[in-house]
Symmetry: C2
Subunit: 500 residues, 2 copies
């Protein structure tokens, strides 16, 4: 039967994903530098194979016949919907373009690793230009193939849809406008209030990496991470990868900055738990995959922002922090809470607090959107960057490419259209947390006792085990009773930072 033949095809694709996922993890965590060229070739070839499988002309008839079947279960139907989307996306892109994108982004990203520390925008720009040129080409092709079905109004919509299916410019613009009109004032109020309080202390002494590692592992266990089916390793740019059955969480240890590192681990653990909580029966099919990146980020930010930086959680982990890292006034609960809720406009997105973070995202959104839409050029990035950082966050970034437009790995690796997911994730997380508190009224007590199972159960039921069974709007509605609504996030910010 055609549907089952399609399942077999997508099973194969999921095994290729396993291979690519692990090879990517290895590349960032284990691979010696000399292995890079060979690894790039292998990953590019796996990409080409994936494309060839999805472009096989034999699929036309199989899809046509599967779409006529009337004996499919709800999950099979949802799976068929996801398969169809994957198939149409892949058919839209010529094989040569896929390979060119893979090679260009590999080259750009590899160069970025040395050019960024050198603050060398000049040599970086042509490599990035190539990545953006190909992204534009891919966006056009996707738009042409899918605009009717997916409702694309422009090329950038086609890129957004790849990372967050169903979230297009017309959904994002009003939400980001709301944030742009609200957050600057909110930030000013928060900074004024914060200025009346003593500056929190930082740890007096460097904290050895092995102690940070022991603490990270205990916290991950508290957060339900299963070390029999996953690992934690250090890397330069932390991420969560691997496969649902074998989570590879990474972190960066800095003897002089234990504070941020700790939240990084909590964040990545959120990503990992989502993946490992996906529906086991559908793990090797499209419907068993995680939703878009905005939902993925909602899980990491739920762990980090809603849970990790909450007062009861910080109170509860403070003794663990002191047990592993030693006694230091900085590790008292009050001080940790002040550190973890400190707001301070800064140049670096990944170090930003949750209040100023959206402005970093909006800046990048506007830049990449305008390049894809032909309103701006890669060469304009530095000037526009400086202008926006000054306007949105009051910061002077002139001449600092390293901690300016070269700070992120996303563009070098070809991820154009990805940045909005971070802020969509933050909004989703706040909205989910509000729903959790309604559904599990004693959630705060659970957190205070570090007995988090009821919270994980709620997330598993409402998000993790859904995979891609529902579309984004439906997922949020069944979990929270509402589609995406920035009020939950703004209320959360007002409550946490202004005590409102």
């Amino acid at each position: 039967m055609s549907y089952h033949e399609l399942e077999r095809t997508f099973y194969r694709l999921s095994q290729l994903d396993h291979a690519s996922g692990m090879l990517q993890w290895d590349r960032y965590v284990m691979m010696p530098p000399g292995g890079n060229a060979a690894r790039s070739r292998a990953l590019a070839e796996l990409d080409v194979m994936r494309t060839e499988i999805l472009q096989d002309p034999a699929l036309d008839e199989r899809f046509a016949s599967a779409l006529e079947a009337n004996d499919l279960s709800d999950w099979q139907q949802a799976n068929l919907r996801q398969m169809t989307l994957d198939w149409k996306r892949a058919r839209a892109l010529p094989k040569d373009l896929v390979e060119a994108q893979s090679l260009a982004s590999t080259e750009c990203e590899h160069a970025w690793r040395t050019l960024r520390p050198e603050n060398n925008w000049r040599d970086f720009q042509p490599l990035l230009q190539k990545v953006f040129d190909l992204a534009r080409e891919a966006a056009q092709a996707q738009r042409e193939a899918l605009s009717e079905e997916r409702g694309f109004a422009n090329d950038y919509d086609a890129l957004l849809d790849q990372f967050d299916p169903g979230t297009l410019m017309h959904c994002i613009d009003p939400v980001f406008d709301r944030l742009k009109s609200t957050l600057p004032n909110l930030t000013r109020d928060i900074l004024e209030r914060q200025a009346t309080r003593p500056t929190p202390m930082t740890p007096a002494k460097p904290v050895p990496v092995d102690k940070q590692d022991a603490l990270a592992r205990e916290l991950m266990a508290v957060l339900g991470f299963n070390f029999d089916a996953g690992r934690l390793d250090p890397t330069a740019h932390p991420f969560s990868g691997g496969a649902p059955e074998d989570s590879r969480v990474t972190t960066r240890y800095d003897e002089h900055n234990v504070i941020e590192g700790l939240m990084g681990v909590i964040h990545e653990t959120g990503h990992a738990r989502y993946e490992s909580g996906l529906p086991r029966d559908w793990l090797h099919q499209p419907v068993g995959r995680s939703m878009g990146m905005g939902v993925h980020e909602s899980q990491s930010l739920f762990f980090e922002m809603q849970l990790g930086r909450s007062r009861p959680f910080i109170n509860a982990i403070a003794p663990l922090v002191r047990k592993h890292l030693g006694e230091d006034p900085a590790f008292e609960a009050d001080n940790l809470h002040a550190l973890y809720t400190r707001v301070e406009p800064g140049k670096i997105r990944v170090n930003a607090d949750e209040v100023t973070y959206p402005m970093h995202v909006i800046l990048r959104y506007e830049l990449e959107r305008d390049i894809i839409l032909g309103r701006s050029e890669v060469a304009d990035i530095p000037e526009r960057w400086d202008e926006a950082m000054s306007r949105y966050l009051g910061l002077d970034t002139k001449g600092d490419f390293r901690d300016g437009p070269m700070q992120d790995i996303h563009w070098p690796m070809g991820a154009v259209g990805y940045f909005p997911s971070y802020t969509l994730g933050a909004l989703n997380a706040a909205q989910l947390h509000a729903a959790l508190v309604r559904a599990v009224p004693d959630a705060g007590d659970c957190i205070a006792r570090l007995e988090l199972q009821p919270i994980f159960d709620w997330l598993a039921e409402n998000i993790w085990q859904k995979g891609c069974y529902l579309e984004y709007d439906d997922l949020m509605k069944q979990a929270t009773g509402d589609t995406l609504n920035p009020d939950y996030f703004l209320n959360h910010v007002r409550e946490r930072y202004l005590g409102e």
Copy 2:
């Protein structure tokens, strides 16, 4: 042109090999236990894809046309010969059988990791039976398809030929007979002579793992290992893997046995240098691969036995050993030399000295050969094992499955026909060393100064850079002036152990 289309196909296969090689390395070195089922599925699927590519009916015509081409270079012709062999081998095996073998060996090997420590032959036997049944089926299929071309006289020949192309039972039998008729007497003479000398000292205290690791890394650097294109990691069952451009050497550190661990690292470094020395222009084509396992093992044993345990090498590294591991009379050159040339019949193959090692191999060869040829059954293994260990090495192994027939990973992982390679490798290594000494008369001085480049250059020119360009007999002839001849090994043993 058909030949170039074939090159494209085999390039793809080599990228799949990269993926599988790295996923295997990860599995043994990094993967958490819960990841095993998912990894097995991914590796099995990659195997099936490899088989499908080689079984594509479109290849028939391409091979037919490429074989008629008359404008191929010598290396292209050799490449076409290797491609043809790969193709015919793959065509001989039904896809279902390949998948069944992969799953059965994965299951058996996974179980072996817990059953071996439990000394549990009973639960292991049915799993091993399955592996052997499928090996027999595969051997029959290979024989039927290839016997005329490859000269197979029986099913076991087809298995041998997979690991050591061109080395069949009729080549091995006279060589092993020679060893069987010579080594027991030689061993007796060596043990008598050894008994007149004091027993060498072992280190008085355990040696911390980090110090062993530092020494291992310095020795690997002396042996030309490039850490910019490779790694060293601990694992339970050391091996050398990864890819030619990215060597993954593994070792096992034991605080109470620094002596054997050190030679293990030297051994695996030999494997890695062979792989990384393969002809770069042909790296992603069959002719650019390493020769069979007997040649591979000749490189590791050249490093370990011919170089590593030689008197000048031990004299030269003794100061390094003491620098890293501390002062201990056991680490004086004379004592190290006595330790590294000690002969002692024992149960465990991997711990065996080079004099008794061939008897371990011959035992396994006779057992697996007889099972494949239907002269014996898996259920007979324990009894035959005990009988042979008693006859060949004078040891009582009754009831000890753990350090008896369950000691090796090879059978559980489906590698039937592999064991002879170890002894072929030892013979090749001695023969190559004799040729090196003729070609580089001051090799001993080079070793004494740890300036090994002339030796590596000779190996690179005569073995590494040849890839599969020559067939085995021709490779040995051009490197040593002779085809496989056990006299070199026996002379080496007499010289080293009896001073003859």
